[in-house]
């Protein structure tokens, strides 16, 4: 039979099949996704798409005498027949595996009030207001001899989690973003803007184009600046470029095993250590207004900070860094026990970096800087040294000279070598925290809020010829 099942039916039948085949426990995750996108380059649309996806993950657990083992099987396009095969395969895999180190009782809990609702869906109609104004901005760019390149994406993921312990959770999360690059006629200079959204009603393509035009105007004067350590203003987007990498290094197990910047010399973690003498905070909360994330743990495989046994665990607001001190690392229940902390703090798909007392905007920081650089976004960021979390990467599409509190020209690009952990200890001024969109990671991790920062000695390692 090729009968397509609803998410709820998939979960109920999957759990029933697992029980009938002798599994001791089972979790079934169903993710229904729909997305639609527009992409443009050289002032014309290049590609577009509307995609619908469905994935089912079955996690079967069996007792093995020495503990509990798990088998994980994921499939798309599941039918009534193939569900039976998936459940059988998950149980067989669990039986063939040894006891899992991270095994814990499956999470129990209530049936969510919205459990019976259908998956939510996006359509190309989400661009009803955006697409015409995008078309207008593309025509305007043509007339003004500028070129535009960009991408708009909107998606909705509806996630269902059910377990043999009674848990039934559903949550639908919309997410959208726009990233747009503008170039002048001879392609010698470029600028970038990006923003995240939930539904595109708050995205004005003409306003984005106006900001690109303003930034390209700064390139009327061009200045060559040598590599070296420069006073540098990082707007919220560039701060997110760096802090997202820091966020991903908060794995508690890796730190405990002596493999990250959050490992203590000689063994253990740096939990409780002061990372910065400044009142800087990094915080996650699935309920953050405008940055809503899944409110429960979702793990399709186990790792240092996550466990398939923790699926459905309620996520709590978590301070990772508070007042400059490392407060928590990402942990599963297993890792929490291993490293000796009282409760699990799984990762959450958002974060906010803030500085107590931080006020004002990027423009305000610019107004206060006598001589330095304004770097609008960073790119190709990779780790060079895990011990210091030294990252390398490039500036792109907008580096400007600040003189006497004003932007006075465009500057060449640079390669940088810097550690975000060190930056949190070295910045000398911070603005107010606002929603931000990382150039490098925003298409994957867009729920961030960060302040602009002034770093007195940002390490520009060499000049990049790219423009």
């Amino acid at each position: 039979m090729t009968i397509q099942l609803t998410p709820q039916d998939t979960i109920e039948r999957g759990l029933a099949l697992a029980a009938a085949e002798g599994a001791d426990g089972c979790v079934v995750l169903v993710a229904e996704t729909s997305s639609t996108n527009l992409r443009w380059a050289n002032n014309t649309l290049t590609t577009n798409g509307a995609m619908r996806g469905s994935s089912v993950t079955v996690i079967a657990t069996v007792g093995s005498g020495e503990g509990t083992a798990a088998g994980v099987i994921g499939r798309s396009s599941v039918t009534e027949d193939s569900l039976r095969e998936i459940v059988s395969a998950a149980i067989a895999t669990a039986r063939a595996a040894g006891p899992a180190e991270d095994a814990r009782p499956l999470v129990d809990g209530p049936v969510g009030a919205d459990w019976d609702l259908e998956p939510e869906e996006t359509t190309v109609g989400v661009y009803e207001k955006f697409a015409p104004s995008l078309g207008e901005s593309l025509k305007r760019a043509d007339l003004e001899r500028r070129r535009l390149y960009g991408f708009a994406n909107h998606e909705v993921v509806t996630l269902y989690v059910g377990s043999s312990t009674g848990l039934r959770l559903r949550q639908a999360l919309p997410r959208g973003y726009v990233s747009s690059t503008g170039k002048n006629a001879d392609l010698s200079h470029s600028a970038w803007v990006g923003t995240a959204t939930r539904d595109f009603t708050d995205v004005d393509a003409l306003a984005l184009d106006a900001e690109l035009t303003r930034r390209l105007g700064w390139a009327t004067r061009t200045v060559s600046v040598d590599a070296g350590r420069h006073p540098t203003i990082l707007p919220p987007a560039a701060v997110a470029d760096l802090m997202t990498y820091l966020y991903w290094q908060l794995d508690g197990r890796d730190a405990f095993d002596g493999q990250t910047v959050f490992s203590k010399s000689g063994g253990g973690t740096r939990l409780g250590d002061t990372l910065s003498s400044q009142p800087v905070n990094m915080h996650s909360d699935p309920a953050l207004a405008g940055l809503e994330a899944f409110a429960f743990a979702v793990a399709r495989s186990s790792g240092g900070s996550s466990s398939v046994f923790d699926n459905g665990l309620t996520l709590q607001a978590t301070d990772w860094i508070r007042g400059g001190k490392l407060e928590h690392l990402m942990t599963s229940r297993h890792t929490a026990e291993l490293i000796g902390v009282p409760e699990a703090t799984p990762d959450i798909a958002n974060y906010v970096v803030s500085v107590d007392g931080g006020a004002g905007s990027t423009d305000d920081l610019v107004a206060g800087l006598d001589n330095g650089l304004l770097v609008t976004c960073l790119w190709y960021i990779r780790m060079v040294d895990p011990q210091t979390l030294l990252l390398t990467g490039l500036t792109r599409d907008g580096v400007y000279l600040v003189e006497g509190g004003e932007v006075t020209g465009a500057v060449n690009n640079f390669r940088f070598n810097e550690s975000p952990v060190d930056l949190l200890a070295r910045f000398t001024a911070a603005g107010a925290t606002v929603p931000s969109y990382s150039r490098e990671w925003g298409d994957y991790f867009s729920r961030t809020a960060t302040p602009p920062l002034l770093v007195p000695d940002f390490n520009m390692s060499s000049v990049s010829q790219a423009s």
């Binding site: 997305s35 443009w40 380059a41 590609t47 798409g49 798309s76 493999q259 495989s301 790119w379």
Partner: protein, 503 residues
């Protein structure tokens, strides 16, 4: 010889394709293509010889791309029914219609011969999905144990990814094919923790277009490498820090493949040179006005694009636009002479390229994504009677021999790059005198390749590669192989990464 998986052949691929293509035609599409793809993937991870995670996934779905009123339209779905195939075709046409007002360029495709219901299978011996999970875990546990038992190894992490890709493609020109590919990507890392520092050493075995036989010794000598890693790691942990400055470098193919990928592979993608990737991964310094004249590197530099090499990760019988696999020159005698293109770019740039045909570089990483111009296997060719790695080292008075890849980064036009590696050996008067640490090399693409004095012979040649090259919006992941010999470079800038961190 492997055969196409029977369970894939049992899917109603012809019926779905026929329904989708007919519906697209009925709605006025001037061209349409259909893909049915099933991608099975398995990920196994061990931490300190204990199975941490094992996950088996399958992604199955269908996609339709159309040209309607001169505009692309794309849609994808997951239900394998005729109704769904028709719905997806209708949605693709609808996408084209919605997009038409903001499309300023009529889409035309280069011609390609028709291939009628052909089949192609990649070269491998053992389908990883036929090997019992317990056998795989037992082998990886053995490999982990060998490292953990060694002095100085505190932790061992293992990850092996395997992919089994089946595809059915059909277009309105009459081409249809069934294609099956297998690839595997292993990584084993030993970690050491000292009082004041920690470090790690990973295996250099590249991902490959091979089956499970790769993990048991076909194509890579695991016994030899695993036996040496603890010693290498201990030496690295105790090694002196490098003095920043200019050095002659002998770069092993286990490292050089990644430099080729970033500074040649991506730079010779024509979609980047034309600006189609400008908002995301970036453009290229190798623009079309420099075609045929750009001095990319020294005269010993010969780089090919290749969709046909055995065990290549980007090797195919046919690409995602129905174009047959080919091999061609990208850089010859140090001069830029070729690009990687798809059918649209081939048609639009026929005069520039001097050929009316695509070289088959269209690829989508799943049925859920649109085909984009993607990298062929881009490889630096060895000198036919060239020297060994030892001979290259013997020509260096004060330099560094770099083995294995680690950190990598390059700017958005592919000029300025910085790479690290697994091991760095100090060379004095033509001889290796021990390891260094904290090394990164930084250069500009044409300066670097211009400083290449010699390439090694075929005996030094190795296929490297990556499973996870990112490109496009929405982001897609591609797998690609880069073959290269050892090579000698003069006067390259070396950084001390500890000093770069301000310490």
């Amino acid at each position: 010889m492997p055969e196409v998986d029977a369970s894939f052949l049992a899917l109603p691929r012809h019926e779905l394709a026929q329904a989708a293509l007919q519906r697209a035609r009925d709605l006025g599409a001037t061209y349409a293509e259909f893909r049915l793809e099933r991608i099975r993937s398995e990920s196994i991870a061990l931490r300190d010889s204990v199975l941490e995670s094992a996950k088996d996934d399958e992604d199955l779905g269908l996609a339709v791309r159309v040209i309607h009123d001169g505009t692309w339209g794309f849609a994808a779905g997951v239900a394998l029914t005729v109704d769904e195939a028709v719905r997806v075709a209708e949605q693709a046409v609808n996408m084209a219609q919605v997009s038409r007002p903001i499309n300023a360029e009529t889409i035309e495709l280069a011609d390609e011969p028709v291939y009628d219901d052909v089949t192609w299978i990649s070269s491998y011996e053992i389908d990883p999905f036929t090997v019992p999970r317990a056998d795989k875990v037992a082998l990886l546990t053995d490999y982990s144990d060998r490292l953990l038992k060694a002095d100085g190894v505190a932790h061992v992490s293992v990850h092996v990814a395997t992919i089994h890709e089946c595809k059915y493609y059909a277009n309105t020109a009459g081409t249809s094919y069934t294609q099956q590919r297998v690839r595997i990507g292993p990584n084993i890392t030993a970690h050491a923790v000292a009082e004041d520092r920690f470090d790690s050493m990973s295996t250099c075995a590249p991902p490959a277009g091979r089956g499970w036989e790769y993990m048991t010794g076909t194509g890579w000598n695991w016994d030899e490498e695993l036996a040496q890693i603890p010693g290498w790691l201990a030496e690295k942990l105790a090694a002196p820090t490098v003095e920043a400055g200019e050095y002659d470098l002998v770069i092993d193919p286990t490292n050089l493949w990644l430099t080729i990928h970033e500074s040649i592979g991506h730079a010779t993608e024509l979609d980047r040179a034309l600006g189609y990737e400008a908002n995301y991964a970036g453009t290229s310094f190798a623009t079309t006005d420099k075609f045929g004249t750009l001095k990319y590197g020294s005269p010993v530099m010969h780089v090919t694009g290749d969709r046909t090499v055995e065990h290549g990760l980007s090797t195919v019988g046919y690409d995602d636009e129905g174009v047959a696999g080919q091999q061609w020159d990208l850089v010859k005698d140090g001069i830029l002479v070729g690009y990687q293109v798809d059918r649209r770019m081939a048609k639009k740039n026929e005069d520039l390229l001097g050929t009316p045909r695509s070289n088959g570089c269209a690829y989508a990483d799943s049925s859920g994504h649109i085909p984009i111009q993607r990298m062929a296997n881009v490889s630096l060719q060895p000198a036919p009677d060239g020297p060994s790695t030892e001979e290259l080292i013997s020509r260096v008075k004060n330099g560094i021999y770099i083995v294995g890849d680690k950190s990598w980064s390059i700017d958005m036009q592919r000029y300025n790059f910085q790479f690290t590696g697994q091991r760095f050996y100090k060379i004095v008067d033509g001889k290796i005198v021990g390891q260094l640490r904290d090394v990164a090399y930084q250069a500009t693409t044409t300066d670097f390749w211009g400083s290449m004095e010699a390439v090694g012979g075929p005996q030094t040649y190795l296929l490297g590669g990556a499973l996870n090259c990112g490109k496009a919006e929405p982001s897609q992941s591609g797998a690609v192989t880069h073959g290269c010999p050892s090579a000698l470079f003069r006067s390259v800038r070396i950084l001390n990464t500890t000093q770069e961190a301000g310490r």
